[in-house]
Symmetry: C2
Subunit: 257 residues, 2 copies
Protein backbone atom coordinates (compact mmCIF):
# COMPACT_ATOMS: atom_id res chain seq x y z
CA UNK A 1 0.00 0.00 0.00
CA UNK A 2 2.88 2.26 0.75
CA UNK A 3 6.26 2.13 -0.79
CA UNK A 4 8.37 4.27 1.43
CA UNK A 5 8.39 3.24 5.01
CA UNK A 6 10.90 2.47 7.70
CA UNK A 7 9.90 1.62 11.16
CA UNK A 8 11.73 2.04 14.45
CA UNK A 9 10.32 4.53 16.83
CA UNK A 10 10.51 3.89 20.50
CA UNK A 11 12.97 5.50 22.89
CA UNK A 12 13.13 5.20 26.61
CA UNK A 13 11.20 7.82 28.47
CA UNK A 14 9.37 9.41 25.64
CA UNK A 15 7.55 7.21 23.18
CA UNK A 16 9.10 8.87 20.23
CA UNK A 17 6.81 7.66 17.58
CA UNK A 18 8.67 8.93 14.67
CA UNK A 19 9.38 6.57 11.89
CA UNK A 20 8.54 5.71 8.37
CA UNK A 21 7.98 9.33 7.84
CA UNK A 22 9.35 10.14 4.43
CA UNK A 23 12.35 12.38 4.58
CA UNK A 24 12.46 15.56 2.64
CA UNK A 25 14.92 14.79 -0.13
CA UNK A 26 17.52 17.43 0.55
CA UNK A 27 18.04 17.02 4.25
CA UNK A 28 19.71 13.87 5.43
CA UNK A 29 19.65 12.53 8.94
CA UNK A 30 21.76 13.76 11.80
CA UNK A 31 22.48 17.37 12.36
CA UNK A 32 24.63 19.38 10.10
CA UNK A 33 24.94 22.95 11.19
CA UNK A 34 24.17 25.19 8.25
CA UNK A 35 26.15 28.35 7.83
CA UNK A 36 24.84 30.44 10.70
CA UNK A 37 24.35 33.25 8.28
CA UNK A 38 21.56 31.44 6.49
CA UNK A 39 19.96 30.40 9.75
CA UNK A 40 19.67 33.96 10.94
CA UNK A 41 18.26 34.94 7.60
CA UNK A 42 15.57 32.32 7.83
CA UNK A 43 14.69 33.34 11.36
CA UNK A 44 14.79 37.09 11.04
CA UNK A 45 14.65 37.88 7.36
CA UNK A 46 18.14 38.92 6.43
CA UNK A 47 19.46 41.01 9.27
CA UNK A 48 22.50 43.19 8.72
CA UNK A 49 25.92 41.62 9.32
CA UNK A 50 26.45 43.80 12.37
CA UNK A 51 23.26 42.46 13.87
CA UNK A 52 24.25 38.90 13.16
CA UNK A 53 27.59 39.44 14.84
CA UNK A 54 25.92 40.71 17.97
CA UNK A 55 23.43 37.88 17.93
CA UNK A 56 26.20 35.33 17.61
CA UNK A 57 27.70 36.93 20.63
CA UNK A 58 24.78 36.14 22.87
CA UNK A 59 23.31 33.02 21.28
CA UNK A 60 24.26 29.57 22.43
CA UNK A 61 24.05 26.72 19.96
CA UNK A 62 23.07 23.53 21.69
CA UNK A 63 23.08 20.18 19.89
CA UNK A 64 20.55 17.76 21.32
CA UNK A 65 19.64 14.18 20.52
CA UNK A 66 16.27 13.07 19.22
CA UNK A 67 13.74 12.76 22.00
CA UNK A 68 15.06 15.61 24.08
CA UNK A 69 12.61 17.84 25.84
CA UNK A 70 13.30 21.25 24.34
CA UNK A 71 10.71 23.29 26.17
CA UNK A 72 8.54 22.59 29.15
CA UNK A 73 5.33 24.15 30.37
CA UNK A 74 6.64 23.79 33.88
CA UNK A 75 9.76 25.86 33.62
CA UNK A 76 9.65 29.61 33.19
CA UNK A 77 11.02 30.70 29.84
CA UNK A 78 13.95 33.06 30.06
CA UNK A 79 15.22 32.46 26.57
CA UNK A 80 14.00 32.67 23.03
CA UNK A 81 14.35 29.31 21.35
CA UNK A 82 14.91 28.55 17.71
CA UNK A 83 15.54 25.38 15.81
CA UNK A 84 18.67 25.83 13.70
CA UNK A 85 18.40 22.35 12.23
CA UNK A 86 16.35 19.21 12.76
CA UNK A 87 12.70 18.49 13.43
CA UNK A 88 10.66 19.11 16.54
CA UNK A 89 7.07 18.91 17.71
CA UNK A 90 5.14 21.37 19.83
CA UNK A 91 2.35 19.99 21.93
CA UNK A 92 1.44 18.96 25.40
CA UNK A 93 2.93 16.18 27.43
CA UNK A 94 -0.17 14.79 29.08
CA UNK A 95 0.56 13.30 32.47
CA UNK A 96 2.89 10.38 31.89
CA UNK A 97 2.97 10.97 28.20
CA UNK A 98 1.71 9.84 25.14
CA UNK A 99 3.07 13.17 23.97
CA UNK A 100 0.35 14.85 21.97
CA UNK A 101 1.85 16.92 19.16
CA UNK A 102 -0.07 19.90 17.92
CA UNK A 103 2.39 21.31 15.46
CA UNK A 104 5.62 20.08 13.93
CA UNK A 105 8.53 22.23 12.81
CA UNK A 106 11.55 21.63 10.72
CA UNK A 107 14.67 23.30 9.54
CA UNK A 108 15.57 26.75 10.71
CA UNK A 109 12.51 28.08 12.46
CA UNK A 110 11.49 29.72 15.68
CA UNK A 111 10.46 27.32 18.37
CA UNK A 112 9.32 29.83 20.95
CA UNK A 113 9.90 33.52 20.39
CA UNK A 114 7.10 34.65 22.69
CA UNK A 115 7.22 33.08 26.14
CA UNK A 116 10.51 34.63 27.14
CA UNK A 117 9.01 38.11 26.98
CA UNK A 118 6.34 37.21 29.50
CA UNK A 119 7.44 36.29 32.94
CA UNK A 120 5.84 32.90 33.04
CA UNK A 121 5.53 29.45 31.64
CA UNK A 122 5.30 28.58 27.96
CA UNK A 123 1.92 27.38 26.75
CA UNK A 124 3.34 24.24 25.23
CA UNK A 125 6.00 21.59 25.55
CA UNK A 126 8.37 20.71 22.75
CA UNK A 127 10.37 17.59 21.99
CA UNK A 128 13.02 16.92 19.38
CA UNK A 129 11.92 14.50 16.69
CA UNK A 130 15.38 14.16 15.20
CA UNK A 131 18.75 15.20 16.46
CA UNK A 132 18.55 18.94 16.51
CA UNK A 133 20.61 22.04 16.82
CA UNK A 134 18.92 24.40 19.24
CA UNK A 135 19.62 28.12 19.30
CA UNK A 136 19.21 29.75 22.68
CA UNK A 137 18.93 33.52 23.11
CA UNK A 138 18.65 34.76 26.68
CA UNK A 139 16.11 37.53 26.80
CA UNK A 140 18.19 39.53 29.20
CA UNK A 141 21.06 39.57 26.75
CA UNK A 142 18.87 40.22 23.77
CA UNK A 143 17.20 43.28 25.19
CA UNK A 144 20.23 45.60 25.04
CA UNK A 145 20.61 44.68 21.39
CA UNK A 146 17.21 46.17 20.67
CA UNK A 147 18.62 49.54 21.62
CA UNK A 148 21.59 49.18 19.33
CA UNK A 149 19.71 47.72 16.39
CA UNK A 150 16.16 49.02 16.06
CA UNK A 151 16.01 46.94 12.91
CA UNK A 152 16.22 43.87 15.11
CA UNK A 153 13.23 44.98 17.12
CA UNK A 154 11.22 45.33 13.95
CA UNK A 155 12.18 41.86 12.83
CA UNK A 156 11.23 40.31 16.12
CA UNK A 157 7.92 42.13 16.03
CA UNK A 158 7.37 40.74 12.58
CA UNK A 159 8.01 37.20 13.79
CA UNK A 160 5.47 37.53 16.55
CA UNK A 161 2.94 39.33 14.38
CA UNK A 162 3.11 36.51 11.87
CA UNK A 163 2.43 34.04 14.59
CA UNK A 164 -0.50 36.04 15.92
CA UNK A 165 -1.96 36.12 12.46
CA UNK A 166 -1.56 32.43 11.97
CA UNK A 167 -2.92 31.44 15.36
CA UNK A 168 -5.90 33.69 14.86
CA UNK A 169 -6.91 31.90 11.71
CA UNK A 170 -6.25 28.52 13.30
CA UNK A 171 -8.58 29.36 16.15
CA UNK A 172 -11.16 30.71 13.75
CA UNK A 173 -11.06 27.60 11.60
CA UNK A 174 -11.36 25.30 14.58
CA UNK A 175 -14.50 27.13 15.62
CA UNK A 176 -16.21 27.49 12.29
CA UNK A 177 -14.95 24.94 9.78
CA UNK A 178 -15.50 21.22 9.79
CA UNK A 179 -12.74 18.67 9.39
CA UNK A 180 -13.15 18.37 5.63
CA UNK A 181 -12.82 22.12 5.13
CA UNK A 182 -9.78 22.35 7.38
CA UNK A 183 -8.10 19.50 5.58
CA UNK A 184 -8.87 20.95 2.16
CA UNK A 185 -7.32 24.16 3.40
CA UNK A 186 -4.26 22.29 4.65
CA UNK A 187 -3.86 20.54 1.33
CA UNK A 188 -3.90 23.78 -0.59
CA UNK A 189 -1.42 25.42 1.72
CA UNK A 190 0.97 22.53 1.30
CA UNK A 191 0.57 22.01 -2.41
CA UNK A 192 3.10 22.96 -5.03
CA UNK A 193 1.58 24.16 -8.26
CA UNK A 194 2.05 22.18 -11.42
CA UNK A 195 3.37 24.22 -14.28
CA UNK A 196 1.46 22.47 -17.01
CA UNK A 197 -1.93 21.82 -15.41
CA UNK A 198 -3.48 24.84 -13.71
CA UNK A 199 -6.16 22.93 -11.83
CA UNK A 200 -3.73 20.39 -10.44
CA UNK A 201 -1.07 20.44 -7.78
CA UNK A 202 1.16 18.11 -5.82
CA UNK A 203 1.29 17.53 -2.10
CA UNK A 204 3.95 15.43 -0.47
CA UNK A 205 3.25 14.38 3.08
CA UNK A 206 6.45 14.92 5.01
CA UNK A 207 5.01 13.82 8.32
CA UNK A 208 3.18 10.79 9.50
CA UNK A 209 -0.50 11.06 8.74
CA UNK A 210 -1.13 10.80 12.42
CA UNK A 211 0.80 14.00 13.00
CA UNK A 212 -1.00 15.79 10.23
CA UNK A 213 -4.25 14.74 11.83
CA UNK A 214 -3.08 16.16 15.13
CA UNK A 215 -2.35 19.51 13.52
CA UNK A 216 -5.86 19.54 12.15
CA UNK A 217 -7.35 18.61 15.48
CA UNK A 218 -8.81 15.32 14.26
CA UNK A 219 -8.04 11.65 14.75
CA UNK A 220 -6.00 9.56 12.30
CA UNK A 221 -9.13 7.56 11.51
CA UNK A 222 -10.98 10.67 10.43
CA UNK A 223 -8.07 11.81 8.28
CA UNK A 224 -7.98 8.45 6.59
CA UNK A 225 -11.68 8.73 5.84
CA UNK A 226 -11.26 12.24 4.52
CA UNK A 227 -8.56 11.13 2.12
CA UNK A 228 -10.74 8.38 0.83
CA UNK A 229 -13.83 10.50 0.54
CA UNK A 230 -12.05 13.29 -1.29
CA UNK A 231 -10.57 10.83 -3.74
CA UNK A 232 -13.97 9.21 -4.25
CA UNK A 233 -15.22 12.65 -5.22
CA UNK A 234 -12.40 12.85 -7.72
CA UNK A 235 -10.78 15.88 -6.07
CA UNK A 236 -7.52 14.20 -5.18
CA UNK A 237 -5.55 11.07 -5.92
CA UNK A 238 -3.71 9.35 -3.12
CA UNK A 239 -0.71 7.09 -3.51
CA UNK A 240 0.81 6.51 -0.13
CA UNK A 241 2.42 9.74 0.92
CA UNK A 242 2.02 11.43 -2.43
CA UNK A 243 -1.21 13.28 -3.01
CA UNK A 244 -2.19 14.79 -6.31
CA UNK A 245 -4.79 17.49 -6.24
CA UNK A 246 -6.95 17.06 -9.32
CA UNK A 247 -9.36 19.96 -8.95
CA UNK A 248 -7.91 22.95 -7.18
CA UNK A 249 -10.95 25.22 -7.55
CA UNK A 250 -13.30 22.58 -6.14
CA UNK A 251 -10.93 22.04 -3.24
CA UNK A 252 -10.83 25.75 -2.61
CA UNK A 253 -14.62 25.80 -2.53
CA UNK A 254 -14.69 23.06 0.09
CA UNK A 255 -12.07 24.89 2.14
CA UNK A 256 -14.68 27.61 2.18
CA UNK A 257 -13.13 30.99 1.42
Amino acid sequence: MDTNIASNGVAHGVPLRRAMRPRSPGRTAGLRVPASRSVWSALLGDPAPAVIDDLEGIAAARPLPAGSLLLSRHEPARELLALAAGDAALGVAHGDLPFQPERTLQGPQWLDAASAWLGGMPAQDAVALSDVQLLVLPRAALQPLLARHPELARQLLLVLARQVHQLTTVAHDLMHKDAEARFADWLMQHSVALADAPKRALVTLHERKRDIAAQLGITPETLSRLLRQLSRKGLIEVKGYAVTVLDLPALRAIAGA
Copy 2:
Protein backbone atom coordinates in the same frame (compact mmCIF):
# COMPACT_ATOMS: atom_id res chain seq x y z
CA MET B 1 -30.03 55.25 18.96
CA ASP B 2 -29.11 53.87 22.30
CA THR B 3 -28.89 55.39 25.66
CA ASN B 4 -25.80 53.53 24.86
CA ILE B 5 -27.57 50.29 25.42
CA ALA B 6 -31.16 50.49 24.57
CA SER B 7 -32.74 48.02 22.34
CA ASN B 8 -32.72 48.89 18.77
CA GLY B 9 -30.36 46.45 17.31
CA VAL B 10 -30.89 46.62 13.68
CA ALA B 11 -29.20 49.37 11.77
CA HIS B 12 -29.15 49.56 8.11
CA GLY B 13 -26.30 47.57 6.73
CA VAL B 14 -25.07 45.89 9.85
CA PRO B 15 -27.46 44.06 12.14
CA LEU B 16 -26.09 45.44 15.31
CA ARG B 17 -27.61 43.03 17.71
CA ARG B 18 -26.66 44.59 20.94
CA ALA B 19 -29.19 45.21 23.64
CA MET B 20 -30.25 44.49 27.16
CA ARG B 21 -26.72 43.61 27.92
CA PRO B 22 -26.01 44.56 31.52
CA ARG B 23 -23.61 47.46 31.78
CA SER B 24 -20.56 47.28 33.88
CA PRO B 25 -21.39 49.55 36.79
CA GLY B 26 -18.48 51.94 36.56
CA ARG B 27 -18.59 53.00 32.96
CA THR B 28 -21.44 55.23 31.93
CA ALA B 29 -22.73 55.92 28.49
CA GLY B 30 -21.14 57.75 25.63
CA LEU B 31 -17.47 58.12 25.17
CA ARG B 32 -15.45 60.02 27.61
CA VAL B 33 -11.84 60.26 26.69
CA PRO B 34 -9.81 59.21 29.70
CA ALA B 35 -6.63 61.00 30.45
CA SER B 36 -4.44 59.75 27.63
CA ARG B 37 -1.80 58.97 30.20
CA SER B 38 -3.85 56.17 31.68
CA VAL B 39 -4.72 54.84 28.25
CA TRP B 40 -1.09 54.45 27.29
CA SER B 41 -0.40 52.80 30.60
CA ALA B 42 -3.12 50.26 29.99
CA LEU B 43 -1.86 49.56 26.50
CA LEU B 44 1.85 49.48 27.09
CA GLY B 45 2.36 49.06 30.80
CA ASP B 46 3.49 52.44 32.01
CA PRO B 47 5.81 53.86 29.42
CA ALA B 48 8.07 56.77 30.32
CA PRO B 49 6.67 60.29 29.86
CA ALA B 50 9.06 60.92 26.99
CA VAL B 51 7.71 57.88 25.19
CA ILE B 52 4.15 59.00 25.73
CA ASP B 53 4.93 62.39 24.31
CA ASP B 54 6.33 60.88 21.17
CA LEU B 55 3.42 58.50 20.86
CA GLU B 56 0.96 61.34 21.19
CA GLY B 57 2.82 62.98 18.39
CA ILE B 58 2.08 60.24 15.90
CA ALA B 59 -1.19 58.81 17.20
CA ALA B 60 -4.51 59.97 15.85
CA ALA B 61 -7.56 59.73 18.11
CA ARG B 62 -10.65 58.99 16.09
CA PRO B 63 -14.11 59.03 17.67
CA LEU B 64 -16.51 56.69 15.91
CA PRO B 65 -20.19 55.87 16.40
CA ALA B 66 -21.53 52.49 17.39
CA GLY B 67 -21.73 50.15 14.45
CA SER B 68 -18.69 51.47 12.67
CA LEU B 69 -16.44 49.04 10.92
CA LEU B 70 -13.12 49.49 12.67
CA LEU B 71 -11.06 46.95 10.82
CA SER B 72 -11.63 44.99 7.67
CA ARG B 73 -10.11 41.81 6.34
CA HIS B 74 -10.18 43.35 2.91
CA GLU B 75 -8.02 46.36 3.51
CA PRO B 76 -4.32 46.06 4.18
CA ALA B 77 -3.41 47.19 7.68
CA ARG B 78 -0.92 50.01 7.81
CA GLU B 79 -1.70 51.11 11.34
CA LEU B 80 -1.77 49.66 14.78
CA LEU B 81 -5.23 50.04 16.25
CA ALA B 82 -6.21 50.40 19.87
CA LEU B 83 -9.50 51.03 21.60
CA ALA B 84 -9.08 54.00 23.92
CA ALA B 85 -12.66 53.79 25.13
CA GLY B 86 -15.82 51.92 24.27
CA ASP B 87 -16.66 48.35 23.29
CA ALA B 88 -15.89 46.49 20.11
CA ALA B 89 -16.14 42.99 18.71
CA LEU B 90 -13.62 41.10 16.64
CA GLY B 91 -14.95 38.49 14.27
CA VAL B 92 -15.76 37.82 10.71
CA ALA B 93 -18.34 39.53 8.56
CA HIS B 94 -19.65 36.60 6.62
CA GLY B 95 -20.84 37.56 3.17
CA ASP B 96 -23.77 39.90 3.66
CA LEU B 97 -23.43 39.75 7.37
CA PRO B 98 -24.82 38.36 10.28
CA PHE B 99 -21.56 39.58 11.79
CA GLN B 100 -20.12 36.71 13.75
CA PRO B 101 -18.23 37.94 16.80
CA GLU B 102 -15.41 35.82 18.13
CA ARG B 103 -14.05 38.07 20.81
CA THR B 104 -15.27 41.26 22.45
CA LEU B 105 -13.11 43.99 23.91
CA GLN B 106 -13.73 46.91 26.15
CA GLY B 107 -12.05 49.89 27.62
CA PRO B 108 -8.48 50.69 26.77
CA GLN B 109 -7.14 47.70 24.90
CA TRP B 110 -5.31 46.79 21.74
CA LEU B 111 -7.58 46.03 18.84
CA ASP B 112 -4.93 44.97 16.36
CA ALA B 113 -1.28 45.37 17.19
CA ALA B 114 -0.10 42.68 14.81
CA SER B 115 -1.42 43.08 11.28
CA ALA B 116 0.32 46.36 10.61
CA TRP B 117 3.73 44.69 10.89
CA LEU B 118 2.89 42.25 8.16
CA GLY B 119 2.23 43.62 4.77
CA GLY B 120 -1.17 42.13 4.32
CA MET B 121 -4.73 41.88 5.44
CA PRO B 122 -5.84 41.46 9.04
CA ALA B 123 -7.26 38.06 9.96
CA GLN B 124 -10.45 39.51 11.36
CA ASP B 125 -12.97 42.29 11.02
CA ALA B 126 -13.94 44.51 13.90
CA VAL B 127 -17.03 46.58 14.58
CA ALA B 128 -17.77 49.11 17.30
CA LEU B 129 -20.42 47.94 19.73
CA SER B 130 -20.74 51.31 21.43
CA ASP B 131 -19.48 54.70 20.46
CA VAL B 132 -15.76 54.34 20.63
CA GLN B 133 -12.56 56.29 20.68
CA LEU B 134 -10.11 54.68 18.32
CA LEU B 135 -6.35 55.19 18.57
CA VAL B 136 -4.52 54.94 15.28
CA LEU B 137 -0.75 54.53 15.10
CA PRO B 138 0.72 54.40 11.61
CA ARG B 139 3.40 51.78 11.52
CA ALA B 140 5.65 53.91 9.38
CA ALA B 141 5.61 56.63 12.01
CA LEU B 142 5.97 54.23 14.88
CA GLN B 143 9.05 52.52 13.57
CA PRO B 144 11.48 55.42 14.06
CA LEU B 145 10.33 55.62 17.67
CA LEU B 146 11.64 52.14 18.27
CA ALA B 147 15.11 53.44 17.62
CA ARG B 148 14.72 56.30 20.06
CA HIS B 149 12.99 54.27 22.77
CA PRO B 150 14.12 50.67 22.97
CA GLU B 151 11.83 50.42 25.96
CA LEU B 152 8.93 50.87 23.57
CA ALA B 153 10.06 47.97 21.45
CA ARG B 154 10.13 45.78 24.47
CA GLN B 155 6.62 46.79 25.44
CA LEU B 156 5.26 46.11 22.00
CA LEU B 157 6.95 42.74 21.97
CA LEU B 158 5.31 42.03 25.28
CA VAL B 159 1.89 42.89 23.89
CA LEU B 160 2.31 40.52 20.99
CA ALA B 161 3.86 37.80 23.11
CA ARG B 162 0.90 37.91 25.44
CA GLN B 163 -1.42 37.52 22.52
CA VAL B 164 0.55 34.60 21.13
CA HIS B 165 0.36 32.91 24.49
CA GLN B 166 -3.36 33.46 24.77
CA LEU B 167 -4.17 32.34 21.24
CA THR B 168 -2.06 29.25 21.69
CA THR B 169 -4.10 28.13 24.66
CA VAL B 170 -7.33 29.03 22.90
CA ALA B 171 -6.41 26.82 19.97
CA HIS B 172 -5.31 24.07 22.29
CA ASP B 173 -8.54 24.18 24.25
CA LEU B 174 -10.64 24.12 21.11
CA MET B 175 -8.88 20.97 20.03
CA HIS B 176 -8.79 19.07 23.27
CA LYS B 177 -11.43 20.29 25.69
CA ASP B 178 -15.15 19.89 25.44
CA ALA B 179 -17.63 22.71 25.82
CA GLU B 180 -18.19 22.16 29.51
CA ALA B 181 -14.48 22.33 30.27
CA ARG B 182 -14.00 25.45 28.21
CA PHE B 183 -16.90 27.16 29.89
CA ALA B 184 -15.70 26.17 33.36
CA ASP B 185 -12.38 27.67 32.42
CA TRP B 186 -14.04 30.83 31.20
CA LEU B 187 -16.01 31.14 34.42
CA MET B 188 -12.91 30.89 36.54
CA GLN B 189 -11.03 33.41 34.48
CA HIS B 190 -13.86 35.89 34.82
CA SER B 191 -14.65 35.32 38.47
CA VAL B 192 -13.80 37.69 41.28
CA ALA B 193 -12.87 35.96 44.50
CA LEU B 194 -15.05 36.37 47.54
CA ALA B 195 -13.14 37.47 50.60
CA ASP B 196 -15.14 35.50 53.13
CA ALA B 197 -15.79 32.24 51.32
CA PRO B 198 -12.74 30.65 49.74
CA LYS B 199 -14.60 28.14 47.60
CA ARG B 200 -16.97 30.75 46.18
CA ALA B 201 -16.64 33.51 43.64
CA LEU B 202 -18.76 35.92 41.65
CA VAL B 203 -19.07 36.24 37.90
CA THR B 204 -20.97 39.06 36.29
CA LEU B 205 -21.81 38.55 32.65
CA HIS B 206 -21.03 41.81 30.91
CA GLU B 207 -21.98 40.59 27.48
CA ARG B 208 -24.97 38.92 26.00
CA LYS B 209 -24.86 35.19 26.59
CA ARG B 210 -24.90 34.75 22.86
CA ASP B 211 -21.59 36.59 22.60
CA ILE B 212 -20.06 34.60 25.40
CA ALA B 213 -21.10 31.46 23.57
CA ALA B 214 -19.42 32.75 20.43
CA GLN B 215 -16.17 33.28 22.31
CA LEU B 216 -16.33 29.69 23.47
CA GLY B 217 -17.08 28.41 20.04
CA ILE B 218 -20.49 27.01 20.95
CA THR B 219 -24.11 27.94 20.25
CA PRO B 220 -26.28 29.93 22.65
CA GLU B 221 -28.44 26.87 23.16
CA THR B 222 -25.49 24.85 24.35
CA LEU B 223 -24.39 27.62 26.70
CA SER B 224 -27.85 27.73 28.18
CA ARG B 225 -27.78 24.01 28.77
CA LEU B 226 -24.33 24.22 30.32
CA LEU B 227 -25.50 26.84 32.79
CA ARG B 228 -28.41 24.70 33.79
CA GLN B 229 -26.42 21.53 34.05
CA LEU B 230 -23.69 23.12 36.15
CA SER B 231 -26.26 24.55 38.51
CA ARG B 232 -28.02 21.20 38.76
CA LYS B 233 -24.70 19.79 39.88
CA GLY B 234 -24.56 22.49 42.53
CA LEU B 235 -21.40 24.06 41.18
CA ILE B 236 -22.90 27.42 40.32
CA GLU B 237 -26.00 29.48 40.94
CA VAL B 238 -27.46 31.50 38.12
CA LYS B 239 -29.64 34.57 38.52
CA GLY B 240 -29.95 36.26 35.17
CA TYR B 241 -26.61 37.79 34.42
CA ALA B 242 -25.18 37.18 37.86
CA VAL B 243 -23.48 33.85 38.40
CA THR B 244 -22.21 32.67 41.74
CA VAL B 245 -19.60 29.98 41.74
CA LEU B 246 -20.31 27.68 44.67
CA ASP B 247 -17.48 25.20 44.38
CA LEU B 248 -14.33 26.63 42.87
CA PRO B 249 -12.19 23.48 43.25
CA ALA B 250 -14.80 21.31 41.55
CA LEU B 251 -15.05 23.82 38.73
CA ARG B 252 -11.30 23.81 38.35
CA ALA B 253 -11.39 20.04 38.11
CA ILE B 254 -13.95 20.21 35.31
CA ALA B 255 -11.89 22.83 33.52
CA GLY B 256 -9.25 20.14 33.54
CA ALA B 257 -5.84 21.55 34.47
